[in-house]
């Protein structure tokens, strides 16, 4: 069964009313809303009672029609005032007196009906189908089925942009984070339940806190993968707010979740295990909390000759397939870098012979160099240096350099 409500100029009210009865709603036109009421008989009783309940909730003069198919309900709602309940099999008779302009067929077809002298649903329904097919084609037959009340179709469901947010204005401002987390937990529970019910997830959390004396405190967390785990989301907010707490007592809270489609992954039976994105994000957030955001991530080497040229990026969330093994699977000599380079006092006799610094001290046994490197001379971060690889008498290997602009010596790192 389908119900249709017709009330010109009141679409939001019609939608509000329809949502109370069904999630399956079609906005047939700006004046008409149609929705599925199958199964509501157990709640409200017979269709007449459902129609009266709709009339009671809508609270304004509207035409309400209930029928076994959506098109009949729509036509009846447009043409019959008040409540109209059409039983299955009675559609043709109920619609027969309606004016044909309520059918909603294309204008040229309407003009043709005028020329034929066809004015009502009943007259159109009575015409032979073969003749209609010969003159108006398949489209004409479809319109005749509507006029007879025998058309069958699915509802064209509306795509609703739902705002997944919660807002609360507090009577007494809260100065502590603990009660705030309590409220956020409640909001997240409600919002995650709503998202899950619609098979959605979130990849962005927005929190706006209106403060007592200061400007708004805004927190935006972008998640690497959509999730609906309320505990993980709460933990991320807790960590963020603990690290950057609001500067004054909180007057108003607004929490918004951006709804997106959830991550659906077909796992590979033979692929290596990898951290679940939800757990990894919480773990990274926990570590970020005490080491700082700039000190955790996956490094990416920059395409530059500048020493120590890299940037920290986000860690990958999914493993890709295994890479081919290296042809030369040798152990590479590693370089361990002092950040920043350690200042040193170096005695030279054409080459370094003795070094004194916080990290390396002693006579230089072997020194190989110099190698000169420079770059970015047009910028403030220019470098121009003379590098040496040295081995102390103890056997430790270091790379040292002389900054040719300041003539100062530094220990850049050691080989290991």
């Amino acid at each position: 069964m389908f119900a249709s409500i017709h009330a010109p100029g009141n679409l939001p009210i019609l939608l509000d009313c329809a949502r109370r009865f069904s999630p399956l709603i079609e906005i047939t036109s700006p004046e008409t809303v149609t929705f599925d009421i199958r199964g509501l008989g157990r709640v409200y009783g017979e269709p007449g009672k459902i129609a009266r309940e709709i009339e009671r909730l809508i609270g304004l003069p509207a035409h309400i029609a209930i029928a076994a198919n959506p098109d009949t309900a729509v036509c009846a709602a447009r043409g019959i005032a008040g409540i109209c309940v059409i039983s299955a099999g009675e559609e043709g008779r109920a619609l027969s007196a309606l004016s044909l302009h309520l059918l909603g067929c294309p204008p040229q077809m309407g003009e043709l009906f005028d020329l034929w002298g066809i004015r009502t649903f009943g007259q159109f329904a009575a015409l032979p189908t073969a003749g209609i097919a010969a003159r108006l084609g398949e489209e004409g037959v479809d319109w005749q089925r509507v006029a007879r009340g025998s058309a069958r179709r699915q509802l064209r469901l509306m795509e609703e942009k739902i705002d997944y947010s919660r807002e609360m204005e507090l009577e007494d401002p809260i100065p502590l984070l603990e009660p705030l987390f309590f409220l956020l937990a409640r909001f997240l529970f409600e919002l995650c339940t709503e998202l899950t019910a619609r098979s959605l997830a979130t990849n962005e959390i927005g929190l706006r806190l209106s403060l007592e004396k200061e400007a708004e405190h805004v927190v935006t967390l972008r998640l690497p993968a959509p999730m609906t785990d309320q505990k993980a989301l709460l933990k991320l907010l807790e960590l963020e707010l603990s690290g950057r707490p609001p500067g004054a007592a909180i007057r108003k809270i607004r929490l918004t979740l951006e709804a997106v489609k959830p991550r659906i992954v077909q796992e590979d039976f033979f692929a290596p295990a990898y951290p679940s994105p939800e757990k990894l994000e919480v773990t990274i957030a926990r570590i970020r909390h005490f080491v700082g955001a700039e000190n955790i991530g996956s490094p990416r080497v920059l395409d530059t000759h500048r020493p120590d040229g890299f940037v920290m990026g986000a860690a990958a969330q999914r493993p890709t397939s295994a890479l081919p093994a290296l042809r030369e699977n040798l152990v590479r000599m590693a370089f361990r870098r002092f950040r920043p380079p350690q200042k040193a006092h170096v005695i030279t006799e054409q080459q370094p012979v003795h070094i004194t610094s916080a990290v390396a001290r002693g006579a230089v046994g072997i020194a190989k160099g110099p190698w000169f490197t420079s770059g970015n001379w047009w910028r403030t971060d220019a470098w121009n240096r003379e590098e040496w690889d040295i081995a102390l008498r103890s056997g430790a290997l270091y790379r040292i350099f002389r900054d040719l602009r300041s003539e100062a010596w530094f220990v850049e790192g050691n080989y290991d």
């Binding site: 290596p272 773990t283 081919p324 361990r336 080989y415």
Partner: protein, 211 residues
């Protein structure tokens, strides 16, 4: 059950060493040095001993198998350029820089090792003073070991001195044998790796080569 990280592929033998074997596949057998999963491994060596080269070789092996790794770097001395040159897939490496704070490093390692899903978690305490290392309670190492056992990650701790007591299932010592020079270039380090715990066998010689 994932296989242990075999060092057979990462430790090539060098014919120049009298102790070296010519068959790379036999090195693992010779030393018994498969880095075990779900266990604590100590990788010990002094400055310029080649221990970081071994660590990079392990990270390279694990990331190229498609697994994720984490490196907790106490002194912030990891060099991404060297790591990339060593074949490490950097997008599969989570690098945590602790700026010299050992407490932060232990806490981060604990979180990572318990998070699950990592093939290997490495903690680099090299260049941390011996006094600071001694102050780390044994309970902290046991906690890390327990986390690794629970999550199945291979936990590798590298440094000059670790003092994790009986926590470690494998203790691998690396020391420098000689430095390889050519006319004007540093060519690499020749090192000897030996199994110190449950060991008793002779070490194996390997070269860490510069590019």
């Amino acid at each position: 059950m994932r296989p242990a990280l075999a060092l057979a592929n990462t430790f090539p033998a060098t014919a120049a060493s009298p102790q070296a074997t010519h068959d790379p596949a036999s090195i693992s057998t010779c030393l018994g040095v498969n880095i075990p999963r779900a266990a604590f491994t100590e990788l010990i060596g002094g400055v310029s001993s080649g221990r970081t080269g071994v660590l990079l070789a392990l990270l390279q092996q694990v990331t190229r198998q498609g697994e994720f790794c984490a490196l907790v770097d106490v002194q912030d001395m990891f060099d991404p350029a060297t790591a990339a040159a060593a074949g490490i897939e950097l997008s599969r490496l989570l690098w945590v820089r602790c700026g010299g704070n050992v407490d932060h490093a232990l806490k981060a390692t604990d979180l990572l090792v318990r998070a699950g899903g990592f093939g290997m978690v490495a903690l680099d305490v090299s260049s941390v003073s011996a006094a600071t290392i001694r102050r780390i309670p044994v309970a902290a190492w046991f906690r890390l070991r327990h986390g690794a056992e629970h999550s199945g990650a291979a936990l590798v701790v590298t440094g000059e001195r670790i003092e994790a007591g009986s926590c470690a299932r494998l203790q691998l010592g690396v020391h420098r044998k000689e430095v390889l020079w050519s006319a004007k270039l540093l060519r690499g380090i020749r090192s000897i790796a030996e199994r110190r715990k449950w060991g008793g066998r002779e070490g194996v010689c390997f070269d860490s080569r510069a590019r």
